[in-house]
Every structure is written in structure tokens, then in C-alpha cells.
Amino acid sequence: MGLGVTLSNALSGMNVAQSGLEVLSRNVSNAGTAGYNRESLNVVSDLNGAASSARVAGVQRAFDESVQQHYTAGVADSGYADTIASFLDRLQTYLGTPGSAGSLDTVFGNFDTALQTMATSPDDPTARANTLASAHTLASTLNALSGDVQGLRQETENQIGNAVSSLNQAFGSLATVNQKLATEAGDTASKAALMDQRDRLVTQISQVLDVKATYKTNGTVSLMTRSGVGLIDGTTSPVFRFDSGGAMSPNTLLGGATGQSVGTLTLTTPSGFDMDMVGQDIVQSGQLGALLKLRDDTLVQAQGQLDAVAGALAKSLSTVTTQGSAASSGAASGFQVDLSAVQPGDSFTVQYSDGGVARSVKVVRVDDTTKLPMDFVAGDGQRVIGVNFSAGAASVAAALQTALGPGLAVSSPSGGVLQVLDDGAAGTTDVTALLTATTATGSQSGALALPLFVDAGGTPYTGSLDGATQQRGFAARITVNPQIAANDKLLVQYQAGGSLGDQARASFLADALRQSGFEMTSATAADLGGSTMSGSPQSMIAQVLNFQANAASQAKSQKDTQQVVLDAVSQRLDASYGVNVDEEMARLMELQNAYAAGARVISVVQELINKLMQI
């Protein structure tokens, strides 16, 4: 063993120390850089006979695949919860705190009070003007809320567009990174930087879309959605395409007709397949999942609730209940009613007892044959049947006879009239009442009910179930009857020339608003994802506020939970990858000493050689 060996050993040590310092300086300078993974030096010792030198074997990048998977999933779920919470928080802000000026319950309360005051002083022009003004406020509050909901839906569309373009960009970059990782042998340090970039891109993608990552040995990553659709494997990136549906209205729905459909989201996989991402339920979480859920589900439901409130409001004031007149044929007795005023959405009710058990059947006019047959039991226990009235009373009688069975005799003795009789002498069945609930169309037809709230263009609101249903989007269209707005005396005079002091109509309206009960029909129940509301308009408003308050507060707590989960994973991640400056400083002293020691060895060797030279 000679001095030369000592010299080269010391030099190798100094080289290692220099490389160590280089890694260390990178660690220290990147302490705090998001997505930077701590690096360390692999040092091996070479034994060549007598020589034993240290050599850098490569830079090791700290990485833990299992923690990384957790982190990716956490980011997606937190992105989902964040987005839902922020939208629902805005929705509840629009609805307002109960009792605050302009909140739905306050404007309804004002309208209710105004009606009550008008019932006490129908001849007071101020009371009538107040009723009209508060009715206007109520209608425009519903219009505004409906606009707010659709505005939020519009925003989801815009954000979906943004999310799609950021996804395309991220996938493009990821494909490039994958390619570099696969092909470049490169030095380990630059490879580590690429992998940092790779992980950042995966995190960025998972925030938008829920993905699962598989890491290959060469450092490349392949991604597939949680639902199992492969997105990238290697260097070909998928293409996401979003075709916006244009302006949002309550009728713009998923899978709607042309011009009434929301934007479509298409994925072209690397293998060239086109997939409908919404229809095939590919997106389950991440911002994109949240945006789709809000656009096609949560906000549609909120709109449905507002529509139900608007519908109940209009119908409570405009429904004319007419009792049938007694009818008999031999021993059989019952009632008959005139069906001519029953419009689509209106109904009549048969109350009868069968073997001592009281029963009630509500027959709703549904002329849209695609909605038939309709026969269900509503939440309040009432059986509801949909019948097509367009072919006249005789066909209504036939349909009702089929539905009721042989215990009752349903017939149409003359045009437009329906008669229901019991079984006569047998005495098993008894018809107790037959009454129609129709929508008043005029303001001075003698009926106390008044179509104060109407659909767009002054069309009466009957709550027709035909087609898209009149209720859908009614909150956006509800308006004060222009006839009444132009002449507030119609709020009191139910007959032309009636006395303004007659409180009959005003009292009827005040009572009807408080006492009418509504039950959502099955058609609406499905639209609302099973959440049905019932009761008076006031109680429906309470239910809407309650539902949205709970939804918003749950979304917030969900968001907090996800944040805690993500924080915990982040802590783990930091512990595994993060740079500990203290540790690095200690290592710095170590390397400094090693370098100084190496240099000392060299200087001793130098002295020794000098000594030798002087001999």
C-alpha cells in the first residue's frame, strides 16, 4: 500500500462529500417547495486490493407508494367536498337566514300578513296595495332564487369547461414526463426532478378527477379512473372534450332534447374509444365529480323544491272546490259532478266507505298518455289515479270504474257529468262525497278563489303533469296576474260591481294560504331524488330552508372531515419526503468534517511526499 492509494482514497472521500453537499444544498434550498421529495446519496465503498475508495452510487429519492396512493385519493375526495361545500354555501346564502330581510320565509310572512290585514280591511286601498306589493316581492324572490340556482348551474358548466382544459393540459405534460422517464437514462438527479414533476401532475389531475396511479419501475406512471377506465399508460394521453349546453334554464337537463340539454363530457381514451363520461358514470369524485353532481342532481333538486313552493302558492289561492250534487238510481245513491272545468292538473276526489272502511281516491287529469297508467298512494295515504280526460266524461267514468272495481257504479249520465253511485240495497259501499278541485281562471267568475299567481304570459297555473310538467321551472316564471296587478279591487270583488267592504274573498285567500295542504305527486318525487315535501306553502318553505340548511352544514362538515384526512396524509407524506433542515445541518457538519479530514489526509500525504523528496 502506497501513498498514492491513500491519496486516491482521500480524494474519493472528498468527491463523495462534494456530491453529498450538492444533494444537501438541493434539499435545503427546496425545503418548503411543494412536491419536492427529499433526496439522499447512496455511497458504496470499492475494495480494489489494498485500495478502498468511496463512490457515489446514485441519488435516492424518498418515495412511499402506499402513502402516495392515499394522498392521491384524499386530494380527489377533498376536491369533491370542497366544491360541493362552496356551492351549497352560496345557495344557502341566497336563501337567507330565517327572519332576515328578503329571505324566502320573511317575504312569505309579509305576504301572509298583508292578506290577513286585507281580510280585516278589504275596503282599505293601502291594505290592497300592500297585498299586491308583497305578492310581487314574493314572486320576484322566487324568480330571483330560481335565477340564482340556475346561475350556480351555469357556473358549474363553466367550471367543468375549465377543469377539462386543465385536465387535457396536465395529461399532455404527464405524457411528456412519462416519455422522458422511460427513455432518458440521464443522471439520477434530473430523473428525481422529473419524478417530482410527475407526482405534482398526478396530484393536480386527482384534484379534478378521481384517479388511481400505478408506478412502474422505470419511473413512469399509468392512471385509471376509480371506476376502472384507463386514462394514460405510457406516452399517449387521453383527450377530454366538453361541449357546453349554452344558457341554463330549469328545463335544461341531463339527456334533455336538443337545445334543452346540459353540456356533454366526452373522453377519448388512448386506445381511441369515445366515452360519455356522465352517462357512463365514469367520474365519481374530484372537482369534476362534484360539479356534475351539483349540475345534474343537487341544484336540479333545489330548483324542484322552489318550483314546488311556487306551485303550492299559486294553487292554494286559485283552487275552487265544488261539492257534487246528490244523485240516485233506484236504491243506489251517490253524487254527480260536472267535469267541464277540470283542466289538466286539476282533480276530483271520490270519498266512499267500503265495508265500513273510509276510502278516498283522487283522480288527476293527465292527458299525456306517456305518463299513464298512474296509480299510486301519496305520502298522506291518499290513492291518486291519473286519467286521460281528453276523450270526455264517459271514458273518464270507464277508467275510474276499472280502478275502483265493482263496488261502485261510475257512469256519465250526460255530457261532461260524472256520477258515482254505491251498491244500493247490498249496503256494502257508500259514497260519502264527490268533489272537484279546479283552478279558477277568471277573477270575477263569482268564485272566491283567485288566480293571483300565474304562469308566464298570464296563463293559469294548474300544475299540469303533461309533457315536462307545468311545475318544472315554475319558480322562474311565477308572476302576479297582470289583470289583478292593474286593478287591485279584484282582490276583493269576486263579482263585477261587488262591494269593496265585502271581505269574503280576502278572508278566503287568507285562510286558503294557511290551510291548503299539498302533497307532491309521484312525478315530482322522482325529480327530487325521493325528497318529497308536503303541507301548506308556509310549511313547504320551512322544509326547503331546513333541507338546504342541513345540506349546506353537512357539506361543510364533510369538507372539514376530508380536510382532516388530507392533513393526516400530508403529515405522513411530510414525514416520509419532507426535508428536515436540522437533519440536513447536522449532515452538513458531518460532510464538512469529512471533507476537512480528507483534505487533511491529502496535506499529510503531501508533507510525506515532500519529506521523501528532500531526502
Binding site: D112, T113, T117, G501
Partner: protein
Amino acid sequence: MIVNNSFFPIATSARTITAMKQEMDNLQVQLGTGKKANSLAQLGTDTLNDVSLRARLTQMSSYQNSISTVNLRLDFLDNAMTALSDTQSAAKSSVAAGGGVTAGQAPSLARQQLASVIDVLNSDLNGRYMFGGSTTDQPPVASLDVLLNGSGGKAGFTQVAAERLAADKGVDGLGRLAIAQTGDTVTLGEDGVHPFGFKIDGLADSGSSATLTQPAGSPPASAVQFSGTPADKEVFSVRLKLPDGTTETIELQATSGDAGPGQFKIGAAGPDTAANFAAALGNSIEGLANTKLAAASAYAAADNFFNGPGGTPMRVDGPPFETATALVAGTPANTVQWYVGGDAPSAQNSVAARIDQSTTVGYGVQANETGIAGLMKNLAAMAISGFPNGDADAPARYQAMADRQLQRLSADSNDGTASLRAISLRLGLTRATVGDTRDRLQTYSTQMQGMLDDIEKAPPEEVAMKLLALQTQLQATFQTTANVAQLSLVNYLK
């Protein structure tokens, strides 16, 4: 909080600090507003209770508003009813014996009183007329001048009453009766079938000298046949019904001397006695027609003109009126309609207010209710009468009018479902119901407000405690974070 001196956890601690700061802001808002929740989401599961309580409170406050309005109107009605009642008492006492009002003053006094009654009935509360039932937008009663004198071709009460008087008196002033003498028989018959003039109720004889034929047939006819010679001081009486439903008896005393008023001379034979009797009967009937029949006629005219609930004003079908045989409805075109307010079967329920979820009170009053219409009738009948000094029948006629007014006003004030007193009582009961309901609502709303406060109010002590705790925590966190930041090897390496 996790303390770790690597760089990443600073982010975590920063997040914790931000959260605490937000909580602190939130608490400060709570302290400022006094409310726990400042958004719907913060209210969370309490929303349904909160909204329901608020809705109930709003309803109760609307009922309380109604109650205030109703109370104001009841006060107004109360005053008005007191005024009407006072007028009624004054009208009664003025015609009573010793009332200090002379026949000459009575009509103008009645006219003044009628004017004040109409003023009360036509007064309004903020533009709302209270005596027209559900018709609150116009004065319910015609003005005094129009009522009495008519306007624009429409007959007023003066004209209608004059026509009635003509119809009641008949052509010859015998109150639509006909007297004829044939031999020893005097016949007394009505001149037709109609509601006017006297109606013969029956004949009587204190002795047995004459053969009486009681009224029969259509039109009714009766007869007195002096088949024997009446005894001295034998009294024959004829009972007559007057148009206002009262009955008067004419008594004629047979006398052998010269006949004074109410007497007839017994003749030598039946025909002579009959002639004397017929002449005396004619005088008595004419006298009665000028006094009591005239008074009764005025009241009958008032009864027909001032129609009650559900009726129409009636007047004599004519001209000619002296021979009229029927009444016809006075149309709005030819007769003043004294009452133009609402005419509901139940005056009380024609104006109703809901003062609680299940309580409705009716407080309607219609001027055509019997008590008020009765007062109008009496005063109007007196107001159009005249008792001139030169008229020999005037004192008796005034007495007949005064008797009727006294009797009618006393009856009206004492009984009848719609007398003034009954109307006042009705309003008093309504006021009691309204008062009870107001107290109940007051109690309820206080309780509900308490419940609402439990949900909404943030007790300042609690918030202050929380703020204090949070402040301590935040300070500790700041301190610790600062200390941890110092704990870096970098700071100790020289």
C-alpha cells in the same frame, strides 16, 4: 396540535391558526349581533323549528294587528251606539207627559234628532262606513233632505206618507168606510179589499134593542138594525182596526135628550133612530180618521218606507191614491231608498275578522236592523207631521202620535233580537272575545319568542367565555409557533 420543526408542518399550524382566527371573527360577530347563527347553514338542524316558530309568530302578529283594527272599530261602534241610544231616550222623554215639548215644537225637534241619527249612521272611520254591513265604501243611509223631500224625481218620505194618508182617509175622509141607512138598518162596510183605512173588527151593543150583523164578506160589511127602541144610555160600540195594527173603539150612546158628541138621539121609530145613529157614526169616524188614523197612517207609511232586512220599500199604488187598493215596491228609480248598505241575513257576520287560527268574530252592524230602523221610523213620522194652531184635530192627533212614539220606542229598546240594546250587547260580547284572544295571543307570542331566543340568541356571557378561551389558545399557539421556528439548528451553527 402537532409540533414538528420541519418546514411542512408550518403549513398545518398556519391552517390551524387561520381556523382559530375565523372562529374568533365568528364569535365577534355573534357578540355584535347577539345571534348564534348568521347564515342558514350555521342554523343547521334548528332551521325547521326556527322557521316554524317565526311563521307562527308572524301569523300571531298579523292576528294582533287585526285585533287592534277590530278594537278601534268596536270603539267607534260603541260611541255611535251610545249616541243612538241617547237620541232614543231623548225622543222618548220629549213626547212623554210632562216632557216639556209642545205639539208645535215636536216635529222640528224630531227632525233635528233624525238628522243627528243619520249623521251617526253615515259617519266613517278612515273612510270606512260602519253601519252598512259589508258595504263599507259608501254612506249607508240617504241624507236627511233627500230622505224626506226626495231628489231627482224620486219620492221622499214626505210624499210617500202623504200618499199613504190619502189612501187611508179615502175620498170622503171616512177612512175607506161606507155608511148607509135604509129604513131601520144602518150598514157599515169597507169600500174594498185593500190594506188601507179602517178595518171593522166587530160591533157591540150594551143592551139588546138592536140586531147586530157582525162584519162578514169581502169586502167586509156589517149592519145595525134598530128593530126595537134603544134604552136611554144604551151604548153601541164599533171596534175598528187601524193601519198600524192598533184597535180603536167608537162608542155611541143612545140618548132621549139632545145628542152631544158621542151620542145619538133615540127617534120615534126605528128609521129615525137609524138616521140619527148613522149621522153620529159618520161624525165619530171622520173625527177618528183625522186624528188617530192619521197618526197610524204616518207610522204605517214609515213601516213600509223604512224597510227592514231583506225587504224593499213599499208605497201606495197610485194615483189615484184615495181609491188605491194595493201597495207596490218603490223602485230605486221612483223612490228614495233609505238604506243602501249591505243586506246580509246575519248583520253581525257580514263583517268578520279572523283574530286567531280558529277564532273569527263578527262585528257588522246594519242600519236597517230593527232597532236602528225603528228609531228612524219614529223620528221620521214625527218630523213630517204638522200640528197647526188652527187645526181643531191637531192636539188629538199629536197625542196619538206621541202615544205611538212612546210605546214603540219603549218596546224597541226593551226587546227584539236587533234592538239598540241587543246590538250594543252583541258588540260588547265581541269585544270580550277579542280581549280574551288578545291576552292569549300576547302570552303565546311571549312564550314563542322565548323559544325562538333559545334557538337563535347567543348568550353574551357564553360567547365572551369562548372568546377568552380562544384568545388564550391562539396566544399559546402563536408563542409556540414562534418558539418552534427559533428551534432550528441553523441558528446555533457558528
